[in-house]
């Protein structure tokens, strides 16, 4: 059933690493083979297995979860879903089957020849006793703004976790956490599975590892689709862990490994004018929809934001936090079709991005972090608001 890797010992591998097969399967296969070689160097004699996670149907591989396509090709695991994040459960199952101490889900990025990054990423779980490790890459000021503007402040305010990049597709999971995740039926609901929220909600030991600059820039995404996909995952966890996050009061520090280095930025800051125009058009045409979830006070505050000149556009942090909380409540009570609701947030999000770009374009990396810290504090200060609205969602008159 299980084909042993060349480096896996008779007792089974200690580490199982899955690489997501993206649009370029050939490059992903090469990445897996390179990774297998790097694992052998980084963990000599310990046994490590690198597999390629494919999105094919799992039924086709019934009885043979792991297979080698041909000589020279890496072992392949059928993830059973189109979404990369959904590949985590079969990977954890494989790790449990082989009694591995840790399993890691990685993107097929070009990696450095030096294998120290692998040890830095896996050692906290293998030897440090941590249950979940999330890699954090050095990003530019306007890189990963969806995480910076929504996911990081929201997860920090809700769960008290200071994981700086909680949205990444890459994660290292211990056998203990893997077992818990597989037992949790509610975790498997939906296509995108997010391991970080269940881990921080259940007091598993979480760490982040700074790995330097990201080897390859993230690809451009369709913003409404990305917002809908990401926020539906986050809001679903928010719904499932409501009994936990309502009791969390203050954020706790997260153990960090590696040195946080700022990314080099050569390009000039983007022009905020198109973003402000998107916000203005959204206000003109979508405010009727927003009024279903946003209270009049928030709508009035949005109306009063000056749009001209675009370089002066700012969205107050407290208002932005309340908007996100109101959309979370709207998603929970199904104020309208959930996908439509989250997509309708796009102009508001682009408005926030415009304000953020205006504010951070001239700041240094530490100053940007200080700015993000102020945003997080605003989310934390508005937490009583979301608790109240979550408990009594109908207690406002639009």
């Amino acid at each position: 059933m299980l084909l042993p890797s060349p480096t896996a010992e008779a007792a089974g591998p200690r580490v199982v690493v899955g690489v997501l097969a993206d649009d370029d399967p050939l490059a992903a296969s090469r990445a897996v083979l390179t990774l297998q070689s790097s694992l052998s160097q980084a963990f000599p004699g310990e046994g490590a297995l690198a597999v390629l996670l494919e999105g094919g149907p799992r039924d086709a591989a019934e009885g043979e979860p792991l297979r080698r396509a041909a000589e020279g090709d890496p072992p392949r695991l059928q993830a059973g879903a189109a979404s990369p994040a959904a590949a985590l459960p079969p990977l954890i199952e494989l790790a449990q089957e082989t009694k591995a101490t840790a399993c890691a889900l990685l993107e097929p990025l070009p990696r450095a020849a030096d294998t120290s990054w692998l040890r830095a990423l896996l050692d906290p779980v293998l030897t440090g006793g941590f249950d979940l490790v999330a890699p954090a890459y050095a990003r530019g000021r306007v890189d990963g703004v969806l995480g910076t503007g929504i996911v990081y402040p929201l997860t920090r305010a809700l769960f008290g976790s200071r994981l700086r990049q909680p949205l990444g597709a890459e994660v290292v999971v211990s056998a203990r956490l893997g077992e818990q995740l597989l037992r949790d039926d509610s975790w498997r609901v939906g296509g995108d599975l997010w391991a970080i929220a269940p881990a921080v909600a259940r007091d598993f030991r979480v760490a982040q590892v700074f790995l330097g600059p990201r080897p390859r820039a993230a690809r451009p995404v369709d913003v409404p689709a990305a917002l809908s996909r990401v926020l539906s995952v986050v809001f679903r966890e928010m719904e499932q862990q409501a009994h936990v996050w309502m009791r969390v009061r203050a954020p706790q520090p997260v153990t960090s490994f590696g040195e946080e280095v700022p990314a080099e930025e050569l390009a000039p800051p983007p022009d905020p004018a198109p973003l402000v125009a998107a916000f203005a058009l959204g206000w003109q045409d979508l405010r009727r929809l927003w009024s279903v979830v946003l209270p009049p006070r928030s709508l009035l505050a949005l109306q009063q934001i000056p749009r001209d000149p675009p370089a002066a556009f700012r969205m107050p942090d407290a208002l932005w936090a309340r908007v996100i909380y109101d959309f979370a409540v709207g998603w929970r009570i199904k104020a309208m079709d959930r996908d439509q609701l989250l997509r309708s947030l796009t102009p508001l999000y682009l408005g926030w991005v415009a304000g953020f770009v205006n504010e951070v374009s001239t700041l240094s990396a530490p100053e940007v972090e200080a700015r993000v810290e102020r945003l997080c504090v605003a989310f934390e200060q508005e937490k009583p608001y979301v608790i109240s609205r979550w408990r009594w969602p109908d207690r406002f008159t639009p």
Binding site: V221, Q284, T397
Partner: protein, 240 residues
């Protein structure tokens, strides 16, 4: 003469009395049917309201856009509206049966006509209801999609889609109920044709440049004109 008048009156009253005696059971039966229908309608309304509330019909209706979701005031709940509709449907059926029970030629014919008409009316109401839901859902989809693509006329596009679906649903409902079926189809045809002609004229006369720009953007990179700075700026922002 007065004797004759007395006889005529007596005979008339006798005839009325005998007619009443003959029709009284039917009248009593009619009133019983009406009372039973009212009772049944009240029971159906209560059961339907509770059942629909339990299965989350109001939430589904809110998701589909049939209600705004702004208020949970009982009078606006879609489940109550459906329950009320069912109440009046049962009452109307009861009236039709009562007229039939009366036994008179005219009332029987009227009752049977109503009975034959009610099912079609019910299906038509359902068609209209689904049409309204679909129209509002599609209106929102088009509105959000168009705004997110920076289309300035998003509101008009959404309105056009909404009314197109509404007119189509109304025509289907009218055709099913048998009211001006041919006219309804003809109306839809005219409206659709008019919309297409108007759209073609609008694009041809007023939006040539916009279409040309849109086509240019879809050309292969080598043939495309230089992209605007704003597009470069948008792409420089990494959202994930």
């Amino acid at each position: 003469m007065w004797t004759q008048v007395g006889i005529v009156l007596t005979e008339a009253f006798d005839r009325i009395a005998s007619a009443l005696v003959a029709d009284l059971p039917a009248l009593v039966a009619m009133f019983l049917v009406l009372a039973g229908a009212l009772l049944l309608a009240a029971v159906v309304r209560a059961l339907l309201y509770r059942g629909l509330s339990r299965v989350g019909f109001d939430r589904l209706a809110r998701e589909w856009g049939m209600t705004t979701g702004r208020s949970l005031a009982p009078r606006r709940e879609p489940s109550l509206l459906v329950a009320r509709g069912a109440f009046w449907f049962v009452v109307a059926t009861g009236v039709a049966v009562a007229l039939d029970v009366l036994g008179a030629t005219t009332t029987t014919a009227m009752g049977q006509t109503i009975l034959a008409f009610l099912p079609r009316l019910l299906v038509s109401a359902l068609i209209l209801l689904v049409g309204v839901g679909a129209a509002r859902f599609l209106e929102r989809s088009v509105l959000i999609g168009a705004v997110n693509r920076q289309i300035q006329a998003a509101h008009y596009l959404a309105l056009a889609v909404k009314w197109l679906v509404l007119v189509l649903a109304a025509a289907m409902a009218l055709e099913h109920v048998g009211v001006a079926g041919g006219l309804a189809s003809l109306t839809v045809g005219i409206v659709l044709g008019g919309v297409m002609l108007a759209a073609a004229l609008a694009v041809g006369l007023g939006a040539r440049d916009a279409v040309a720009r849109a086509l240019d953007r879809r050309l292969p990179p080598g043939e495309a004109p230089p992209a605007a700075n704003s597009s470069h700026d948008q792409q420089r922002i990494q959202h994930l």
